[in-house]
C-alpha cells in the first residue's frame, strides 16, 4: 500500500492538513455536523409544534423523570468510560482500551433497554405517534416524542455496535446476532421492539461488510473517532432530555 498518508508524512508531498488532523477525523467531524443539522431540524419541528399548540400535555411524573435521569446518568458515565478508553488506546494499552469500550457499550445498551422499557410503558398507557391519552387534540405530542427519541435511540444503538466492531472486531458479530435473536424471541409479537430489533440485523450486515473490507486491528485513531461519534450522541440527549422530558413534567 503505497498510500497517500505515508507520502503525506514521509516525503512531505502534501500541504500540512488543517489543524494537523487526518482525513478520517475530519470526515467524522463533518458527518457529525450534518447529523446535527438533521437533529436540529427535528428539534425545530418539535419546538414549532409545541409553541403553536396551547395545551401541550405534561404527562411525565416522578417515575418517568427518575427513569430518564438514570438514563442520562448512563450516558454521562459512558462518555467518561469512552474518554478513558481513548486515553488507554493512546497509551497503546490494548487490554484496557477494550475494557473501557466494553464498559461504554454496557452503559449505552443499558440506556437503550431503559428507554425501550419506557417506550413500552407509554405505549401501554395509550401513547401513539398519532394520539395520546392526555390531550386528545394534540397528536403532535406522540409524533414528536417518538421521532426524536426514536432517532436518538437508533443513534445509540448504532453507536454500541460501532464500538463493538472497534473493540471486538469479528468476535462482535456472533454476539450481535445473539442479541438480535434473543431480543426477537423474548419480545412478544405485539411489542414494537419485536419488529424494531431487526435494525440489529441490518447493522450486523453492514458491520460484516466493514469487517471484510477492513479486517485489521483498530488503532488509537479509530478509537478516538468512534469516541467523537459517541460524545455527539450523548450531547444530543442533553438537548432531548430537558426539551422533551423536563419541559413536560407533570404539574401537581
Amino acid at each position: 500500500m503505497a498510500d497517500v498518508a505515508v507520502q503525506h508524512s514521509v516525503a512531505g508531498a502534501y500541504e500540512p492538513s488543517l489543524f494537523g488532523t487526518y482525513s478520517k477525523k475530519i470526515g467524522m467531524w463533518l458527518f457529525l455536523l450534518s447529523d446535527s443539522l438533521t437533529f436540529g431540524a427535528l428539534l425545530f419541528a418539535y419546538s414549532y409544534g409545541r409553541i403553536s399548540t396551547p395545551n401541550w400535555p405534561t404527562p411525565f411524573g416522578k417515575a418517568s423523570i427518575v427513569n430518564a435521569t438514570i438514563m442520562t446518568v448512563c450516558l454521562l458515565s459512558s462518555s467518561l468510560t469512552m474518554v478513558l478508553g481513548v486515553l488507554a488506546s493512546k497509551k497503546g494499552d490494548h487490554k484496557a482500551t477494550v475494557r473501557w469500550l466494553l464498559a461504554t457499550m454496557f452503559f449505552g445498551a443499558l440506556f437503550v433497554v431503559l428507554h425501550a422499557k419506557e417506550w413500552n410503558g407509554l405505549i401501554h398507557e395509550g401513547l401513539r405517534p398519532f394520539s395520546n391519552p392526555w390531550a386528545k387534540n394534540v397528536p403532535q405530542f406522540g409524533g414528536t416524542f417518538f421521532t426524536l427519541t426514536g432517532m436518538h435511540m437508533l443513534h445509540v444503538t448504532i453507536g454500541v455496535c460501532y464500538l463493538g466492531v472497534v473493540a471486538l472486531r469479528k468476535k462482535w458479530l456472533p454476539i450481535l446476532l445473539g442479541i438480535w435473536l434473543l431480543g426477537w424471541l423474548l419480545t412478544p409479537a405485539t411489542n414494537v421492539f419485536h419488529l424494531g430489533i431487526h435494525v440489529l440485523l441490518l447493522v450486523a450486515v453492514v458491520s460484516a461488510v466493514i469487517l471484510v473490507l477492513k479486517p485489521k486491528v483498530y488503532d488509537a485513531h479509530d478509537v478516538e473517532i468512534a469516541g467523537l461519534y459517541w460524545h455527539f450522541v450523548d450531547l444530543v440527549w442533553m438537548f432531548i432530555f430537558p426539551l422533551v422530558y423536563l419541559m413536560s413534567t407533570k404539574v401537581v
Binding site: 500500500m1 498510500d3 514521509v10 482525513s23 425545530f44 414549532y48 397528536p139 409524533g143
Partner: protein, 585 residues
C-alpha cells in the same frame, strides 16, 4: 509528522499503485474518482434527456391541449402536474446537483489540487450508487399505480401528505420521498468527501489561496450540501411519517378530501415550507456555484488574463454561502408571515445581491482588454455570465414582499429561476464539458458544431424564458395545465405559442451536442497535452490521466492558477508546477 497525519490507512484505499483490471472493478464498481465522475455525468445526461422530453410535452400540451403527443397520448390536467413535478425534480436534483458538483467535481477536484484520489474512495463509490438507486426509485414512480406525484418539486403538504389527495399521491409520492431521502444521504456522503479531500490532500505548495476557483466553488458547494441536505432529510422523514404512521406534523385539522374527513389535526403546512426552503435556497446555490467556478476559470484562461480580484471572488462565494442560509423566507412571503420577518428576509436577500454583483463585475473585469479567444467553452462561459445577469436582475424585484406578492406563482418566477439557476447552470455544464472533454477523452469536440450549438441554445434560451416575464406580469399563473379556455389569458396565447416553438427548436439543438459528444469521443481530432494553454494541474498529466492521476509522483505547486500574460515571462501562461519564480507584477 506521522502522528499528525494519522495512521497509514487514513489514505485513499485505491491508491495501491495498480489500477484494477476487469470490467466490473474498472468501470462499474470503480473506486477511481475519474470513473465515478463520468458515471455521475452520464447519470445527469440521462436525466436531462428525460427532463427535457417532459418539458416539451408540457409546452405542447399548454398551447395545443387536445393534441395527442407520441408516447404521452392526450395529456390530462393532472398528468400535466405530474410531468411538471418530475421535470422540476429531475432537473434540480439529478441534473443540476449531479453534473457540475458530483460529476466534474469528482473528476477534477483531486487532479486540480494534486491528489491521487478522493479522501474516501469507497465512500465515493457508495455515494454514486446511492444516487443511482435514488434515480431508479424516482423514475419508478412513473410506473406504479396512480403514477408519479403531482405536488411539484417543492412537494408542499397538504397535497403531498394525504394519499387520497390526488392520483399520484399514493405510492408515487412515497417513492418520491424515498428517492429524495436517498439522494440526501448520497449528497451528504459526497459533500463530506469533497471537503475532506480539499482540506487534507492538497499537494505541496497548493495553499488554499492558490487553488483554482473551480476548487473553491466545489469546496463551498460541498459545505452547503453538507448542511442543507440533512434538513431536507429530516423533513422527508417527517413527511413519510405523516403519510404512513398517521402523525400530523404538516396536516392541520378539519380537512375534507373527496368528501372524506382527514384524520389529522394540529399540524402546520408551513413547517414543511420552512424545512424545505432552509434546504431549498442553499440548493439553488449548490446548483450555480460550480458554474461560477467554471466561468471564472474559463474567462481567465481564454482572456489570457489573471482573474480579476481572486480573493474577492473567494470571499464573495463564502458570503453567498453564508447568506444563502439566511434568506429562505423569501419563498414564503405569501404564507402570512409577520411583516417584520418578511422585512428581514427581504433585506438579507438584497444583501446577497452584493457578492453576486462583485462576481459579475470581476468577470467583466477579467475580460476587459483581454486577448479573448472565442473558443466554444469560452462562448458558453460568456453565455453563463449573460444568463446569470439576466436572471439575476429579476431577483431584487422578487425579493421585495410588495412586488413578490402579485408576482408569486406566476410565470415571472418561472422566468427568473429558469434563467438564473436552470439555464445558467446548464451553460456552466456545457462550458465544462467542452473545456474538459479533451482531458477526459483525449480528443477535441468539433468546433463548428459546438458554435452552432452555442448560438442556437443561447438565442433559444432567451426566446423561451424572456417572454415569460411578460406573461407573469400579465398575471399568467404558474403550474396550470392550459390557458386556452381562460378568457383573460387569451391575448397571451400567441406568446405561449412562440415559447413552445422556441422550446422545440432549442431542445432539438441539443441533439447536435449529443452527436458531437459521442462522435468526438471516437472520431474527434486528437487533443494536445494542454490544448487551451491553461495553467492548472490537470493539464500537466497524461490524457486520460493515469489511475493515480500523476503516475506515481505528487506534483509540487509554485503559483496560483491565474498566471496569464505575466510581463517578462516567456509564454503567456505559467503552469502552476513551473518552478521559475514569477516576476513581480
Amino acid at each position: 509528522m506521522t502522528q499528525a497525519h494519522g495512521p497509514a490507512d487514513a489514505a485513499p484505499a485505491t491508491v495501491h499503485g495498480h489500477a484494477p483490471t476487469g470490467f466490473i472493478r474498472k468501470y462499474v464498481f470503480s473506486l477511481d474518482h475519474k470513473v465515478i465522475g463520468i458515471q455521475y455525468y452520464f447519470l445527469a445526461l440521462t436525466a436531462v434527456c428525460i427532463g427535457m422530453i417532459l418539458s416539451l410535452a408540457m409546452r405542447i400540451h399548454m398551447v395545443w391541449p387536445d393534441a395527442s403527443i407520441p408516447f404521452f397520448g392526450a395529456i390530462k390536467p393532472e398528468q400535466y402536474l405530474t410531468l411538471m413535478t418530475m421535470h422540476g425534480t429531475i432537473m434540480v436534483f439529478f441534473v443540476l446537483t449531479t453534473a457540475p458538483q458530483s460529476g466534474f467535481g469528482n473528476y477534477f477536484l483531486p487532479i486540480q489540487i494534486g491528489a491521487p484520489d478522493m479522501a474516501f474512495p469507497t465512500l465515493n463509490m457508495l455515494s454514486f450508487w446511492t444516487t443511482f438507486l435514488s434515480f431508479a426509485v424516482m423514475i419508478s414512480a412513473f410506473f406504479v399505480a396512480g403514477g408519479a406525484p403531482l405536488s411539484g418539486w417543492t412537494n408542499y403538504p397538504t397535497l403531498s401528505a394525504i394519499p387520497m389527495a390526488g392520483p399520484g399521491e399514493g405510492l408515487g409520492e412515497d417513492l418520491w420521498l424515498i428517492s429524495i431521502a436517498l439522494f440526501c444521504v448520497a449528497s451528504m456522503m459526497g459533500a463530506l468527501n469533497f471537503i475532506t479531500t480539499t482540506l487534507d490532500l492538497r499537494a505541496k505548495g497548493m495553499t488554499l489561496m492558490r487553488m483554482p476557483l473551480t476548487c473553491w466553488s466545489w469546496f463551498i458547494t460541498a459545505i452547503l450540501g453538507l448542511l442543507a441536505f440533512g434538513v431536507l432529510l429530516a423533513g422527508g422523514i417527517l413527511l413519510l411519517m405523516d403519510r404512513n404512521l398517521g402523525t400530523s406534523f404538516f396536516v392541520p385539522g378539519g380537512l375534507v378530501v373527496s368528501g372524506v374527513p382527514v384524520q389529522h389535526s394540529g399540524g402546520s403546512p408551513l413547517l414543511w415550507q420552512h424545512l424545505f426552503w432552509f434546504f431549498g435556497h442553499p440548493e439553488v446555490y449548490i446548483a450555480i456555484l460550480p458554474g461560477m467556478g467554471v466561468a471564472s476559470q474559463l474567462l481567465s484562461t481564454f482572456s489570457r488574463k489573471p482573474i480579476f480580484g481572486y480573493r474577492a471572488m473567494v470571499y464573495a462565494m463564502m458570503a453567498i454561502g453564508i447568506l444563502g442560509f439566511m434568506v429562505w423566507g423569501h419563498h414564503m412571503f405569501m404564507s402570512g408571515m409577520s411583516p417584520y420577518s418578511a422585512f428581514a428576509f427581504s433585506f438579507m436577500t438584497m444583501a446577497i445581491g452584493v457578492p453576486s454583483a462583485i462576481k459579475t463585475f470581476n468577470w467583466l473585469g477579467t475580460m476587459w482588454k483581454g486577448k479573448i479567444r472565442f473558443t466554444v467553452p469560452m462562448l458558453f462561459a460568456i453565455g453563463f455570465v449573460s444568463l446569470f445577469v439576466s436572471g439575476g436582475l429579476s431577483g431584487p424585484f422578487l425579493a421585495q414582499p410588495a412586488i413578490d406578492i402579485p408576482l408569486h406563482d406566476t410565470y415571472f418566477v418561472v422566468a427568473h429561476f429558469h434563467l438564473i439557476m436552470g439555464v445558467a447552470a446548464i451553460f456552466g455544464i456545457f462550458a465544462a464539458t467542452y473545456y474538459w472533454f479533451p482531458k477526459m477523452y483525449g480528443r477535441m469536440m468539433n468546433d463548428a458544431l459546438g458554435k452552432i450549438h452555442f448560438v442556437m441554445t443561447f438565442v433559444g434560451a432567451y426566446c423561451i424564458f424572456m417572454p415569460m416575464h411578460y406573461l407573469g406580469m400579465a398575471g399568467n399563473p404558474r403550474r396550470y395545465s392550459q390557458f386556452t379556455e381562460v378568457k383573460y389569458l387569451a391575448p397571451l396565447i400567441p406568446i405561449h405559442k412562440f415559447i413552445t416553438y422556441a422550446a422545440i427548436i432549442t431542445v432539438s439543438a441539443q441533439l447536435l451536442f449529443l452527436f458531437n459528444f459521442f462522435w468526438s469521443m471516437k472520431k474527434g481530432k486528437k487533443a494536445a497535452q494542454n490544448p487551451w494553454e491553461a495553467t492548472t494541474l490537470e493539464w500537466t498529466t497524461a490524457t486520460p490521466p493515469p489511475h493515480d492521476n500523476f503516475g506515481g509522483v505528487t506534483p509540487v505547486v509554485y503559483h496560483g492558477a491565474y498566471e496569464y500574460s505575466v510581463p517578462g515571462a516567456e509564454k503567456d501562461y505559467i503552469m502552476q508546477t513551473d518552478p521559475t519564480p514569477v516576476p513581480a507584477h
